[in-house]
Symmetry: C2
């Protein structure tokens, strides 16, 4: 039982292909009588307009679809960004392909290729790779591209970023303002640009106070919260342990909390995290964080992409979405003397 086509509808309504096409697309110039006969036929046959075929012929070959590539759709931040973009797209009648890259740059290439083959009009991506020059070709072929969360490399594109560096500086200075001078830094993989930026913000903060970076207090390339917990226990075992910890990512923050609890130091050692953590307000002490605004990020990304789809040809822009410091207690613990 093959799907009915416009041809079947035309036959049943006793008219031509083109007239049915006009009715389906709401084009003017079809008499009311014929129009309703066509609609009846559509109803009776259960006809569904075939967008695949329609897009093929339609001008410009636009598919009214976009792709979203995020690091991991099940990370709360990425999911919130995805949700916002998806909602804005659907209001415009644009459908959304969504995939996770899982920090795999091969996968990034494959998925971009797959989206190109499906002729998406645009792409919003949180890249995993470190060289995006291959996208030049895609854009030349008409794909609009917007980067979120991480900037493009060797490629010029609109991007919506977060003030990783400055936000971190603010967080570290907050700890200093509460009397800390031995502040540890725990960060994600250095290969991730945002992680590197956050580390730079940490260094900035120390330098602004003429303090040197103590390599013993810096733990990078942390892959998950288990690993972060181990790092905390290591830090606490030092001769001169830190009095405060800056955790540069949400999973890291969670691991740090676990580690501090195990060592029963959570009321003694201060903690500021980058990224909000779910239920961060219900812990004891509650966690002071620099929160990102996923809705604002998603909105800006979608807005920028849609402007490009609508023909905006102005120079590419970078938007920085500010972070908000949420003071809850863990970051305000003072060192013991």
């Amino acid at each position: 039982m093959p799907r009915p086509t416009i041809r079947d509808v035309a036959a049943l309504a006793g008219t031509s292909l083109k007239t049915v096409s006009r009715v389906v697309n709401g084009e003017p110039g079809v008499s009311d009588e014929l129009s309703s006969r066509v609609r009846a036929a559509i109803e009776r046959l259960g006809y569904r307009h075939n967008l695949t075929a329609s897009n093929l012929r339609r001008s410009g070959g636009k598919t009214r679809s976009v792709g979203i590539l995020v690091a991991n759709v099940s990370n709360p931040l990425d999911a919130a960004v995805h949700h916002t973009i998806e909602e804005m797209a659907s209001r415009r009648g644009i459908a959304v392909w969504a995939s996770s890259l899982d920090e795999n740059s091969t996968r990034e290439r494959q998925l971009v290729e797959s989206f190109a083959q499906r002729r998406v009009d645009g792409l919003i991506m949180m890249p995993a790779s470190h060289d995006h020059s291959y996208l030049v070709e895609e854009r030349r072929m008409g794909m609009s591209i917007v980067f979120v969360d991480r900037p493009p490399a060797f490629f010029d594109a609109d991007s919506v970023l977060v003030d990783n560096r400055f936000g971190t500086t603010r967080g570290v200075k907050h700890l200093m303002a509460h009397g800390h001078s031995r502040i540890a830094f725990l960060g994600d993989r250095r290969s991730i640009v945002t992680a590197a930026e956050r580390f730079r913000g940490y260094v900035d903060a120390l330098e602004s106070m003429d303090m040197a970076v103590d390599p013993q207090l810096v733990r990078q390339d942390i892959l998950d919260s288990e690993h972060a917990r181990d790092a905390v226990l290591g830090l606490l075992a030092l001769d001169e342990p830190p009095t405060a910890i800056y955790a540069a990512q949400n999973l890291v923050t969670i691991g740090v909390v676990r580690g501090l609890r195990e060592a029963a130091k959570h009321h003694e050692i201060a903690l500021v995290g980058f990224d909000d953590v779910p239920m961060g307000d219900l812990l004891e002490p509650s966690i002071t964080v620099l929160a990102q605004d996923p809705t604002a990020i998603g909105q800006q990304a979608a807005k920028t992409l849609f402007a490009r789809l609508d023909g905006d040809r102005s120079p590419t822009q970078t938007y920085i979405i500010p972070t908000t410091m949420i003071i809850r207690g863990s970051g305000e613990i003072r060192p013991r003397h």
Copy 2:
């Protein structure tokens, strides 16, 4: 600068359309020499195979794409289900459209319509509506459909569900086993099938001990965690307040924790929640929950859908994914006498 087509490649390689098509699709019967000439031309022109056009002609009109409709992509459970399905699909070269329904049944209809127009081969949905008879038409036209988390109504389809009722009974009995007899129930909108099932599980548990349901202790139609907090404060103000609370959903659980803390009763009143809550192990007391297994749910859903896409015509099946009780402390608090 229009995208190059197979025709442009053929011209450059000095051969015919069909031969290029064969090379692109890896079909046998093209000499090595010609094949590599074609590949060189593809490379030089930056040709991208157009799947839209290809699918149009291809047998059966399969698009190698599926749609996922979840309640909300930014809910951790839904996001995890989405992630699992997306990964399994991408391993098969199937692309995924993903959208949130936000408990809006009109949106459900619109999105199904939109997916139908884009000719997805299959659909995995966590429905918002309560009558799915409209899907009969879609399936007749060749769309395979699998329900997750919530069962279909007035429509027969494969479904992957969670043991809401039995899981809840187990959780409530767990509270009884710790000496509680005044156990409150706080649940989501009754119109959501899973919420209704969970309430039934609560009633089952009480009846199994010949206890009556005290309407004062039942608060349903809770929309968010703020609302749940208010409900808790209301319960605590009763003449005979409950000694234990069963929270039937993750956001509800979070609200309950807030309420109990505000009233400083979190170490006195027992709490068991349905759905795991992020960082539930780090709270004091840690939260005892019935955890769902989103990976297992997603895997079963994807597996079932792909079997249907591969031609499985056996009768529809319902898979129940069991919940796991995670004992952490809040559910083991005993009542004071």
